[in-house]
Amino acid sequence: MLKETPSQTAGPYVHIGCIPQYSGIDGIYPNDPGCALPADAQGTLIRLGGKIFDGNHDVVKDALVELWQRDGDGDKGIWLRQPTDLSNGFYQFDTVMPAAVLGAPHICLWIVARGINLGLHTRVYFPDEPKNEHDPVLTSAGKRRDTLISTRPDPEEDESDIGFPVYRFDIRLQGERETVFLNV
C-alpha cells in the first residue's frame, strides 16, 4: 500500500499554472482550462458567484475555485474553474442548474489558495428546493446546513439584467458561520 502524495498549498500564483491567460500569460494554451461551459451541457442557465472570507472577514482575492456537477439532464459531468478576482475577490461561474442525482441538486466546489494546505471540498445547494430536506449531506450538516445553501438575492433584477437566475454562495474559511467542508 502506497501513501497518497502529501498536499502543499497552491500558493498565491496558482493562476500561472491553472489559468495562465488570467494571469497575463497568453498563447501557450488556446484558452484557460475550464473557463467556459461546454457547448453540449444541457439545462437551465444559472450564474453562481460569491466571495471567500478568511477568519478576519477579509476577502480572499488569490483563490482558485473548481466546480464539478451534473448537467440538467444528469447525464454529463461539468467541470469549470475560476479565480476569485484578483482585485475584488468575486468568483463567478455561468453554468446550468444540476439535475438531482445522489441527493438534492448540488454543485461540488474545491477551493485552493495561499494558506490552504489541503484543497477544501464543499457543496452548493439551492434555496427553496424540496429535495434538500432528505439530502444526506445537508442532513448530516445539522445546524450548519445553511452554510451550504446558496441564496438568490435579487430574482427580479437577474431576469431583467442577464435573463437567467443568479445564485450567491459565499464561503467562510473560519469563524462565525464557517462553511461546512467535506471529508469525501
Binding site: 502506497l2 501513501k3 499554472g17 501557450i28 494554451y29 494546505n117 449531506v137 471529508n183
Partner: protein
C-alpha cells in the same frame, strides 16, 4: 459515469490546515472538523480531458512561452527533465490524466501581477506547462530549475526551489495540488510550508530525486517525482445492518 469508493484520506499525513509557522494558514484554516461523506457521492466522479487539448510544446517550459510570442528563444537556467509516474495507493497506474505545473524562473521570479521580487523576469519564460500521463501513468516535462526566493512569512524566510503540480485522477475527490522539491536543497529544512507536514517520511515523498539515467549527456539533468493519488477502497455497504 463510474461510481466507486476511495480509501479514507489520512489527514495526519498531509500538512495540518492550521500551521502557525506558515502565517497565511492562520486565518485561512477551517476550525470545525470536516464533515464525513460516506457512500456514493458526486465527488467520486471527475472530469476527463482529451489529449487533443495538449499542444506539442505544452510540456516544454524552456520553449513554450517564447514560441507563443512567435520566437524561438529559450529560457535561461539549468535545463532539466522532470518526470515520473502517477499511480494510486494500490500502485495502479493513472493513465490519461492531466498534470499541470507552474514555477518561478531560474532567478526565483514568477511571472505574475502580484509578484514583487527583485530578481528579473526572463523574457523567454512563462512558467506554466501541462501534459497527460501515458498508458503507464508516466509524465514528462522539460524546464529550467527554478530559483529559491524570499517570501513575506517571517523576517528572513525563503522557499526552497520547487515546482507546483496539479493532478486530477479520475475522481474530484482525488484532486491534488502539491509541490516538488529538489534533492539536496539545503533550504528544505527551513521551509515553513513544507514543515507544516509532521511526518518526515511524508516530506521525503515531495522531494524529486536526481535521476542520472534519464539525464541527457551534454544537454540536461533529470529529476524523478512520482505522484500517488488516493486509491479505490472497498465498496461501502449502503444498507449495512447495525452491529456489522
Amino acid at each position: 459515469m463510474k461510481q466507486r469508493s476511495l480509501k479514507q484520506r489520512d489527514y495526519d499525513w498531509h500538512p495540518q490546515a492550521l500551521s502557525p509557522d506558515y502565517k497565511s494558514s492562520i486565518l485561512r484554516s477551517p476550525t470545525q472538523p470536516l464533515l464525513r461523506v460516506d457512500g456514493l457521492a458526486s465527488e467520486l466522479d471527475g472530469p476527463a480531458f482529451s489529449p487533443d487539448v495538449i499542444g506539442p510544446l505544452d510540456h516544454n517550459l524552456i520553449q513554450n512561452y517564447a514560441a507563443a510570442l512567435g520566437s524561438n528563444g529559450e529560457a535561461i537556467g539549468p535545463r532539466i527533465i522532470v518526470h515520473g509516474r502517477v499511480v494510486d495507493e494500490n500502485n495502479r497506474a493513472v493513465p490519461d490524466t492531466l498534470v499541470e505545473v507552474w514555477q518561478a524562473n531560474a532567478g526565483g521570479r514568477y511571472r505574475h501581477i502580484n509578484e514583487g521580487y527583485i530578481a528579473p523576469l526572463d523574457e523567454n519564460f512563462g512558467g506554466c506547462g501541462r501534459c497527460m500521463t501515458d498508458e503507464n501513468g508516466c509524465y514528462r516535462f522539460l524546464t529550467v530549475q527554478p530559483g529559491a526566493y524570499p517570501f513575506p512569512n517571517g523576517p528572513n524566510t525563503w522557499r526552497p526551489a520547487h515546482i507546483h503540480f496539479s493532478v486530477f485522477g479520475t475522481a474530484f475527490a482525488q484532486r491534488l495540488i502539491t509541490q516538488m522539491y529538489f534533492e539536496g536543497d539545503p533550504l528544505i529544512q527551513h521551509c515553513a510550508i513544507l514543515n507544516a507536514i509532521a511526518d518526515p517520511k511524508a516530506v521525503q515523498a515531495l522531494i524529486g530525486r536526481l535521476d542520472m539515467e534519464t539525464s541527457v549527456p551534454m544537454d540536461c539533468l533529470a529529476y524523478r517525482f512520482d505522484i500517488v493519488l488516493r486509491g479505490e477502497g472497498s465498496t461501502p455497504f449502503e444498507n449495512r445492518m447495525e452491529g456489522n
